[in-house]
């Protein structure tokens, strides 16, 4: 874990003091909403459909048990007893009152957390692989890179009024678990001739114009990373389309100018500015890396795990589904599902947050991660402790064995909360999960990623879902378009639209028909939904979706 120094603490304290005064001035009428809005957004405070929403940064999804407990405390003291974990590894509180926000920010600062740059046209919270530091396939831990970027970008004077928001994701593994190519800048740690460097992509993003990032440089040496990224943001800051917010993201800049021109401009800017870094960034990077050393892993027997695995089918199912391979012998990565059937994807109660914090403290080297798929990770748990971990999770509704299965759905807040949404997404996710739980087909179906957005902004990543669902307003009625074949990994692909959308009442049966078509047409259990779609194409799924519709309409 990174520990901030006195300068960092003083910086956050001063920001909070300023914001407290701004809130007071808004409440006493000295500031109008037009004057206050940019100030509140700089501190992560939105006004949503029914209430204010505070978005708190969880940098690269990493936190310790004290921080998780503090998030629970905030949920209980100033919200309705729960928080919502997001696809950008943040947590959102849906119901705070305006006058309580300064106290919430001060409480966050007590555990070295804040809400700075979780909103606004600036470089947002940097995200990373949620298995960072633990994954068996990792080349290097992406978190020091993410922390370096965070320190560089926080209050960076050149980048506080960018054309639009700017999102960076980092992965240290060739298997991309951070959806990097859907970010403005993707940083992929790579190794060449024994040297660590970075493959950098630009211009990815979902939303109304989904695009997969393009490689701008396939090997940026470690010492050049920060000046190179700064050159990218700097070039876009000048070229970005401030005349039209829908064309202001760097993906449009790359599209309009072409990757070759952007690359040439970035190289020119990089050549101008790299000397100014003067090695200070590298010294800082080395210092940051010392905070992310591996824990002292234990070398003990796995007998307890083996015994539980043999004796308890519920534990076995959970272990088979929710554990991932750890780099250290005898250890596992535990994925805690926040997708209990029928519950809101990504929500955790204060009690559940404390349970996860307790488990991290007792069994997990005091580390937790938030995944972009709205789940929580205990990155380092010895297998001998897994029966105890599972028992505690089970007792608190946190042991649903559904990671990567049909009910492990990403769903944005949608119109239940979000002022931008055009349809709801959470109830659709709840109904799909409940339906497939009733059918007892989840494990038979195997890996299937459903992602739902309640509007074209695509916070639910629907473009890269194996099955993507986009909620829209069609003539005053909620309507849901389906896409198939999206892929969120290093092999990223955008889903293809099936055809006309479905009403809220029709969408769950429609998804069921798609899954039935997969089960009927797959070669066997080893062929996943995505593999089957890539082999079969759209035809059998369209038939399943629309022929029956036509039959029903004709009857």
């Amino acid at each position: 874990m990174y520990h901030y120094n006195d300068f960092d603490a003083a910086f956050v304290a001063e920001r909070n003091r300023q914001f407290r005064a701004q809130v007071e001035r808004r409440i006493d009428g000295s500031l109008t909403e037009d004057e206050f809005k940019p100030l509140r957004l700089m501190n992560g405070l939105y006004l949503q459909l029914h209430a204010y929403m505070l978005r708190v940064a969880i940098p690269y999804g990493t936190l310790n048990s004290a921080q998780m407990r503090q998030l629970a405390y905030l949920a209980e003291k100033w919200d309705k007893g729960y928080g919502h974990f997001t696809t950008r590894q943040n947590i959102q509180y849906n119901w705070p009152a305006l006058r309580d926000i300064p106290d919430m920010l001060d409480a966050l600062a007590e555990v070295q957390m804040h809400a700075i740059q979780t909103s606004g046209n600036t470089i947002r919270n940097v995200t990373a692989d949620h298995f960072a530091g633990a994954a068996a396939d990792e080349i290097a831990d992406p978190r020091p890179v993410a922390e370096l970027l965070r320190q560089w970008s926080t209050d960076h004077p050149e980048f506080q009024f960018l054309p639009r928001k700017f999102k960076i994701a980092v992965t240290g593994s060739p298997n991309d678990r951070a959806v990097t190519a859907a970010h403005d800048v993707a940083i992929r740690i790579t190794e060449r001739d024994g040297q660590i460097g970075y493959t950098v992509l630009v211009g990815g993003g979902l939303g109304r114009t989904p695009m997969i990032g393009k490689v701008i440089n396939d090997f940026v040496p470690q010492e050049d990373l920060l000046p190179y990224v700064e050159a990218i943001v700097s070039v876009w800051n000048l070229l970005g389309r401030r005349d039209n917010k829908y064309k202001a993201r760097i993906k449009i800049t790359v599209l309009e100018h072409g990757i070759d021109e952007i690359r040439a401009l970035v190289e020119k800017r990089f050549a101008e500015t790299k000397d100014a870094f003067n090695g200070a960034d590298l010294a800082l990077f080395e210092e940051i890396k010392t905070h992310f050393r591996h824990p002292n892993f234990r070398n003990v027997t796995e007998e307890a795990y083996d015994a539980a695995y043999k004796a308890d089918p519920v534990f076995r199912s959970w272990a088979d589904t929710n554990l991932a391979q750890h780099r250290a012998p005898g250890y596992a990565i535990v994925q805690i599902s926040l997708k209990k059937h029928g519950e809101t994807p990504g929500d955790a109660s204060a009690e559940q947050m404390r349970v996860m914090a307790d488990l991290a403290y007792a069994y997990g080297h005091d580390e937790l991660r938030i995944s972009h798929e709205q789940n929580v990770i205990l990155p380092h748990v010895h297998k001998s402790d897994l029966p105890a971990v599972h028992a505690k999770l089970k007792a608190h509704g946190l042991a649903t064995a559904n990671i990567d299965l049909v009910s492990d759905i990403i769903a944005c807040p949608g119109m239940d909360y979000c002022a931008l949404a055009t349809a709801r997404s959470i109830p659709i996710a709840q109904q799909i999960a409940t339906r497939f739980d009733e059918l007892k087909l989840e494990h038979e179906i195997g890996e299937l990623k459903i992602k739902i957005s309640g509007c074209i902004n695509a916070c639910g990543h629907h473009h890269v879902g194996h099955i993507g669902i986009l909620g829209l307003d069609r003539a005053g009625v909620e309507n849901y378009q389906i896409t198939l074949g999206g892929d969120h990994r290093e092999t990223m692909a955008l889903g293809q639209r099936t055809g006309p959308g479905f009403s809220a009442e029709e969408i769950v049966p429609a998804i069921e028909r798609i899954v039935e078509a997969y089960l009927e047409n797959r070669k066997g259990r080893e062929e996943t939904f995505l593999q089957a779609f890539n082999r079969l194409g759209m035809a059998p799924f369209k038939t399943a979706l629309y022929d029956q519709e036509a039959r029903v309409a004709a009857e």
Partner: protein
């Protein structure tokens, strides 16, 4: 031919809590849509909008929302206003818990 005016209410979010509120005929803000003033005249609706928008120490994001007359007061014509009235549909909290 000019398009027929759809009746409206003035709605906003309360400054302190962010709750959805509606302007009543006696210039109060109510969390209950049934108490809202239904504006059936376009010019009057614009006047009420301007008046309400000036109350920035009380509310945020004032706008006119389409409604239709109902047995117990204004009724939403669009699902967005229905969800603003009833609260989120995933948990029994927010407005729906108070109804």
């Amino acid at each position: 031919m000019p398009k027929a005016f759809t009746p409206k209410v003035v709605t906003a979010n309360a400054l302190l809590a962010g709750d959805v509120v509606y302007l009543t005929a006696d210039d109060a803000w109510s969390a209950d849509l049934r108490h809202a003033e239904l504006l059936t005249d376009e010019a009057h609706a614009q006047v009420r909008l301007v008046e309400a928008s000036a109350r920035h120490a009380e509310v945020v994001g004032v706008y006119l929302a389409d409604m239709m007359p109902g047995e117990n007061g204004p009724e939403p014509t669009h699902f967005r206003e229905e969800f603003r009235r009833t609260g989120p549909s995933n948990h029994h909290h927010g407005k729906q818990a108070d109804l």
